[in-house]
Symmetry: C2
Amino acid sequence: MDAAQPMTLDDLPTPCLVLDLGILKRNLAAMQAAVAKHPGLVLRPHLKTAKSREVARLAAPDFGPITVSTLAEARYFAEGGWRDQVYAVGITPQKLDAVVALNAAGADVKVITDDLDVARTIAAHPGPLAGLIEVDVGEARGGVGHDSPVLAEIAGVLGKRLAGLLSHSGHSYAGRSLDDMARIAEEERSRILAAADRLRAAGHALPIVSAGSSPTSLHARAMQGITETRAGVYMFGDLFQAEIGTHAMEDIAVTVLASVIGRRPERNTLLLDSGALALSKDRSTEAAPIDYGFGLVLDLDGRPLPGPAIVKRAYQEHGEVQSTAPLPFAQLPIGGRLRVAPNHTCLTAAAHDRYHVVDGGREVIATWDRVNHW
Amino acid sequence: MDAAQPMTLDDLPTPCLVLDLGILKRNLAAMQAAVAKHPGLVLRPHLKTAKSREVARLAAPDFGPITVSTLAEARYFAEGGWRDQVYAVGITPQKLDAVVALNAAGADVKVITDDLDVARTIAAHPGPLAGLIEVDVGEARGGVGHDSPVLAEIAGVLGKRLAGLLSHSGHSYAGRSLDDMARIAEEERSRILAAADRLRAAGHALPIVSAGSSPTSLHARAMQGITETRAGVYMFGDLFQAEIGTHAMEDIAVTVLASVIGRRPERNTLLLDSGALALSKDRSTEAAPIDYGFGLVLDLDGRPLPGPAIVKRAYQEHGEVQSTAPLPFAQLPIGGRLRVAPNHTCLTAAAHDRYHVVDGGREVIATWDRVNHW
């Protein structure tokens, strides 16, 4: 490549991750508009999907409140200037010292728990620390049951270190219509508010009542009583979220750039150099109306190939493309380039250590890093 | 932790990857013994699973021949001293310069192709370069059909740059008995040798006839005519390979160390901090006799929990453990530690940037890096 020429999608080594800045900004604006419909509601974006300070500058401007899923994220964003964090995965006693070290250095990373013994450890820790109680509003993953007496016990143990309540409506992903999302959001709201009312009646202040998921943050009809909503995947979107109505198919901001490494016109299949490692083996669209295998195949400009053409088989470094329509072999020699839209962008992005940023075209305008691992 | 004390599995931040050196050595010895049964056969271990120089020192001692799956691996191992490599994923013209740069610096990285146009580009490249023709022996992924006339055309184009033939019997993974493996190995052998015979009759020397997969490398009854066999996953093993007979369940060398982050005695479930990112979403045991979900749960010493206990649901950072037997909640507070044996070790290992090495106990005797990405 001539150093005087701008880098384009034709120059990048494959496989690699491409992020479209224009689509990202559109998705962020859509969420900000949805949240702004609810007076006083704060958006606390979840950075588990993006794991990038450059994305956080747009999604949580002015170092606004964020959500994280790992200690590595907490550290990376704290060092980048984002003080106000919720670390939204149940904390273990062994991880508290690392959180307290960040807080002692100026951050305000709040932990979550649903366990009485852990609450005691949080309460007894000599360093700066605050916690939210995780409340189960129907997902049946983590959290104290919203109507359980244990809630009040944990609140009592945390005492002044109780920062509020947190719920996650991950079961909204099972919804298949905007009405479903709105109903699940309202169920979450009524349950976490009932829990909050009981604790407040017992004298707890609960400054934070945090709820959310991308679908419910976008489609909730009422948010009164909820102080903040958390969402992450909306930033980038993916095939699954498009199918359940979080965004349009055209609003998938992250794709994997791949090269053709095999051609079988007689079988109407292609091999790409994006396999299980570059795409992840997430199969979430298996449960959605259209099953996209391991991803939907697009041309270099982001338009779907005839079909749909999907990555039907994924080996470690090989992805086999199949299509219901004839594939355009004449335009796809070995080394020809395609893009793959992911089933689940959180997992696909985590397979890569950086984003190659474009803005609607093929020119690469920036490279942004990611904080992977733990 | 007291700096004077040795680091143990109780001290490591979770989730993380644990490699048992004793099991690794046992698996390497088993493969070396299997290969030694065939006089003259060379083992060219595939480093796509381990991606580690420390493992390569044991699996390919004295900088012996290796197989790699990415340019990143080729570069990392070449710089580490392993000259003789086969880069066993169909090459693109755009990747040739990077390979040639390694070869010009002293390496001997051989590429593979099944495409006439790519063969012309290889033949015309001004730098040091040699290629093998990929032959399809039944997997129907990449490769020229073993009886296709295109084989001779590609061989003719490569001319003096033709280093040999390469096949991969990945369809051996569909085998469910040692007889199946032996039959698939023999089919691979007869097909690639028929192709080699035809090309040799046309005057091509073909110094390398490379075949393999872990199951066929271990269970082939005859290897005459095959010059080298490639295998990778045998080093670490996994649940899927144990189910198809590559090794015993006790010989899974790589596990994910996890902490309990949620307890639900009333539902007999646990949450671990090893979810889809730490384990991968590989579901290969779905097609095996026993479906282990996203992994089999072991205690800190590597013994299976009652059940089997498996990671039944995998969220980004949460793994939900379910079991057919009562889980030992009394020994598993929040922060309690378990290990998870993976469905597919290549994908699980790739989610981590290092190995924490133990040797049959809990003491961490070394930390070994990995070369991830591309």
